[in-house]
Symmetry: C2
Subunit: 294 residues, 2 copies
Amino acid sequence: MTEPMFDKIALIGIGLIGGSIALAARRGGLARQIVAATRRAETAATANRLKLVDHCGTDLAAACEGADMVIVCTPVGACGAATREIAPALKKGCIVSDVGSVKQSVIDAMQPHIPAGVHFVPTHPVAGTENSGPEAGFAELFDGRWTILTPPADTDPKAVDTVEAFWKALGSQVDRLDAKDHDRILAITSHLPHLIAYTIVGTADDLGGHLNAEVLRFAAGGFRDFTRIAASDPTMWRDIFLNNREAVLEVLARFQEDLFYLQRAIRWGEGDKLFDLFTRTREIRRALIHLNQA
Amino acid sequence: MTEPMFDKIALIGIGLIGGSIALAARRGGLARQIVAATRRAETAATANRLKLVDHCGTDLAAACEGADMVIVCTPVGACGAATREIAPALKKGCIVSDVGSVKQSVIDAMQPHIPAGVHFVPTHPVAGTENSGPEAGFAELFDGRWTILTPPADTDPKAVDTVEAFWKALGSQVDRLDAKDHDRILAITSHLPHLIAYTIVGTADDLGGHLNAEVLRFAAGGFRDFTRIAASDPTMWRDIFLNNREAVLEVLARFQEDLFYLQRAIRWGEGDKLFDLFTRTREIRRALIHLNQA
């Protein structure tokens, strides 16, 4: 038997991501003790009933006492307040991390509360499902997926290496990026697609009128995929859009421009413009499949 | 053994849909003979090599001689010309059908060429994959999916019943709709989602710049689903947008309006507006799951 990487891991927040970290860490034997804390007693009770961790309470600071690794797994908008609350309980040498889908604003919110002698390694596991809450967690969530570390330049390299080793042990591939690059990339590949899926499902619901039953019944191909995406956790996604505002608005403007170009091509019957784009996007899909991501 | 429904079925066009009809009809023993014809010799050779039908040639009219059932399986924009070409070969009492994703414009294009004594029953199997061509066909494509018949008011009821029985025997559920209602419903549930997926994948590709490798590598969740949709057949989809122009432009305008509403909410930090929509779309997904379509 190899030694566990940590004596004690504390998870602040125990939803889909926190629960999955707990289960994957236990699967890998990565810690002697895994505890969690969440603000809602009901969520803590569920986590305890499911035995996701050794113990889940509602006192965030208490959970962090003596922890070698603390991972804040709350929605992005709650990361700052959670860090302020746990700061006094963090022991020297402890690593604090997070799992937020936006990185620069989370760094801005958490960094000021990190005590001297504690290492902060911002992290984003690019994995998830449309389900949320502690019941949604599963040990395989990160297997083969990417986790992105965005450590500020002055972060202790050993702490970054430890977090990288931890995520690899959870089953993930790991890459490192500048926080602002991360936010721009995710705005394109994740945030904009979610915003559009949310919009179109709402539009369809409004438009249906007397045809609403048929709209749902014949919701084939495209629309079904969109409804799945648009079922993702509302709080998490509200926070993402509010906290990655600049990057989302920028890609959204580009998207609108491109959509108007197609709208005009449809109105004027310019089939070649449609055909050219549709051929190009097919190639992009092939490149993705080649990269084993599809 | 029950008698086959038809002595001879002729398929005009033998791509994903035509090929799947052939395989599903054979699986069900629905015809003594199934032939096909397609304009491109290369496609015909592939269909023959795969033994999708008893014989596939390149003479559209010749394939239809003596057929009890002719199904035009070309892209929507080619239905009119194909019908004109096969018209002289159609025997009295023959049923002509199609599989177009748009119905009113296909009716307008095909109807004038249908000879007296031949029955025309426009049909749309709401099924497909992002793959195309004869190799993409498979017998199970229609199992449990919906097929919509949009017969004009004066269509022979017996012919409509026969087409309904045929699609049920292919594994499909069948419903009947007014052609214009069909086009409005599909504009929402299928055409708009595809247009948006095509757009966003193009936008992402343009935006990536020096981050393009990362954009592809971290293409998780939302974006991956969009690339799959945006890999659909370019000719088929160009024709759909050009032939369902009015309905697509109408739903597109509504979508743009709704997207600008969210864009403004993001810019002004109005999280409640985002949260309210995201909560509503989650309910829509639950309704869909309840209908067993997701």
